[in-house]
Symmetry: C2
């Protein structure tokens, strides 16, 4: 069975169902990592480089701090009594999720079918790229699009 499970959450209503499935599938002794990728696109100056301004750096720190607190609240509420590793990254959900899968030798990625960071959205216009690139099994938990 799966030993190293990654649960990707975007804090939508649907993330609750996705978290429940991940808990049910994680056998005793397995590692469950909960990842949230905070989307952040730095402003670019006219040359296309990110602007190196203090307010932006502050924004980034605030966003990261906020994401960490949100993840802690999510874990406290929906993953009670389960030992999890919390991770917050800032970037592009699809890339960061796949990079985490690869770097941490994940054997099962649990993700919502819909929602901001759901599989349907991650697939987007790049079609089967996530399925093609993901080096592990993927469980896409069915989400009613109204809840996403």
């Amino acid at each position: 069975m799966y030993q190293n499970i990654l649960l990707a959450v975007d804090f939508s209503k649907a993330s609750t169902c996705v978290a429940q499935r991940a808990m049910q599938l994680a056998p005793e002794g397995s590692q469950l990592t909960v990842l949230h990728v905070a989307e952040y696109l730095p402003m670019l100056d006219y040359s296309g480089d990110p602007m190196a301004m203090t307010p932006l750096a502050i924004d980034e720190d605030l966003l990261m701090e906020d994401a960490k607190q949100s993840l802690q609240r999510f874990v406290d509420k929906h993953l009670q009594g389960v030992e999890v590793v919390q991770q917050v990254k800032m970037g592009i959900p699809k890339l960061d999720i796949l990079q985490t899968v690869e770097k941490q030798n994940i054997d099962l990625l649990v993700i919502g079918s819909h929602g901001r960071h759901g599989l349907a959205r991650l697939l987007g216009s790049t079609a089967a790229a996530v399925i093609n690139d993901c080096p592990c099994d993927i469980l896409a938990v069915r989400i009613n699009p109204d809840n996403s």
Copy 2:
């Protein structure tokens, strides 16, 4: 946990891994259905209607018989000791898999990530259609493309 699991197989080498995962995930007392969709495109006449010729009907029967035998062999070899319901359909894999999920109230579809009827192939140019249309959870079992 899942009570009504559909395992879609195309008899590629990779189907073995997919079957193993389905067995591991099927809790005691749950129903496991193994589905193979035999691809068959009837020849069309000049008006676009299927040709109503005897040889074609015979072809179809032979193909169906062959598919049933192949599924029986697959089950005997790779799903030994597990009670499964065998189903063979003739048509378009994507549509028939989704129809089966809907009609039989499947709560988990287990499918290879690659292979002739794998998720990447089913997604094809219709992008996220399978994810969007599938009314249940999907477990995409990672398949090395060389084995598909």
